[in-house]
């Protein structure tokens, strides 16, 4: 590793500590809730280590209990489609052969993507990796701690821990709708479609039906519909 790369990596590690601590607490919830819903310890920790994605993991855990397996998997996959956009954005900044670049791209999470962004629209790959390393460690270790503690469902309900999931989702949603008016519209439409479908069908179809709201993306953007990205916000 070259000296500037080492500096970037160490700087990334420092930047990653804050989000990593928050991530660890969230992972604790994930581990405990997964055990409460009957998931095995190995599966739960392995999922955190492999997937390293709060939104996809919470989605699968939450929707598997009410939806069909296929619908739950599709919902968990689709919710992370933004990683594809991030990967395309970061591709010109990755280094080495194709395999090395694919490996580097695995360090993409929301916080590292934001932290690695430089003024000239390029990305500092070693900073990206540096921010993600402590997050991955805390995410996996936090899940293991939650699995080991494994409080009973009654205790979790009494402590209000069932609120953690939807609260986490609503905060992610607030983060999303701050980006553009179209995101607000997609959110409102998605909620209406789901609520309507919930009356006539099961939760799995109601959840997937919300994806139809993305079709408003095909509408031409008006000049006054500028995308307002708030770079100060970071999430996993």
């Amino acid at each position: 590793m070259r000296s500037p790369d080492r500096e970037s990596f160490v700087g990334g590690l420092r930047l990653g500590v804050g989000p990593a601590l928050a991530t660890g607490v969230l992972a604790l919830n994930f581990g405990a809730e997964a055990r409460a819903r009957g998931w095995g310890s190995v599966e739960t920790v392995a999922f955190s280590a492999f997937a390293f994605s709060g939104s996809a993991q919470f989605t699968l855990l939450s929707s598997l209990s009410g939806a069909t397996v296929l619908a739950a998997i599709v919902a968990a996959m689709v919710i992370n489609v933004r990683y594809m956009v991030m990967s395309v954005a970061i591709a010109p900044s990755l280094r080495g052969g194709r395999f090395a670049r694919v490996l580097q791209a695995q360090a993409i999470v929301d916080a590292s993507f934001v932290a690695a962004h430089e003024e000239d629209n390029r990305y500092d790959v070693w900073r990206l990796i540096g921010v993600s390393v402590p997050q991955w460690i805390c995410w996996t270790a936090g899940t293991a701690a939650g699995v080991l503690a494994a409080p009973s469902p009654e205790l979790m309900h009494r402590l209000g821990l069932d609120v953690a999931f939807p609260a986490f989702f609503i905060i992610l949603l607030i983060d999303e709708v701050r980006r553009s008016r179209r995101a607000v519209l997609a959110c409102v439409l998605g909620a209406m479609i789901s609520a309507g479908l919930l009356f006539v069908t099961g939760p799995s179809y109601a959840l997937l039906g919300a994806a139809a709201a993305t079709l408003i993306g095909l509408r031409r953007r008006r000049p006054d519909e500028a995308v307002a990205v708030d770079p100060g916000r970071q999430r996993r």
Binding site: I79, V88, L159, D162, V163, A167, A210, G217
Partner: protein, 98 residues
């Protein structure tokens, strides 16, 4: 077995989506319409997820906790503090109404 398959499928999809840039697109850009649609998947699905999660068995103590977390986050309170406050609010209501 179903759980392992779900876990592996979601993990593999995650890896592939993160690898899509260097693997498939190289240095080419995504078509603008596709970018617009992918940007909207998270808000649409998150809204659907919240509705299906909270709408299945409506529990007003849970709704208040989620509303507290959301409101605090709108006021720029950090994520972890917002979620903790939401959880604590619901726990307190359940404790006092028990």
């Amino acid at each position: 077995m179903k759980l392992w398959l779900s876990i592996l499928a979601v993990s593999a999809a995650n890896w592939l989506m993160k690898a899509a840039g260097p693997l498939i697109f190289g240095k080419r850009d995504l078509p603008p319409a596709l970018v617009d649609i992918t940007r909207l998947t998270a808000p649409a699905l998150l809204a659907g997820l919240i509705v299906t999660d909270l709408g299945r068995d409506i529990d007003w103590t849970e709704l208040i906790g989620v509303a507290v977390a959301g409101t605090l986050n709108l006021l720029r309170v950090p994520m972890l503090l917002s979620v903790t406050a939401g959880v604590a609010t619901t726990a307190l209501i359940r404790l006092t109404s028990a």
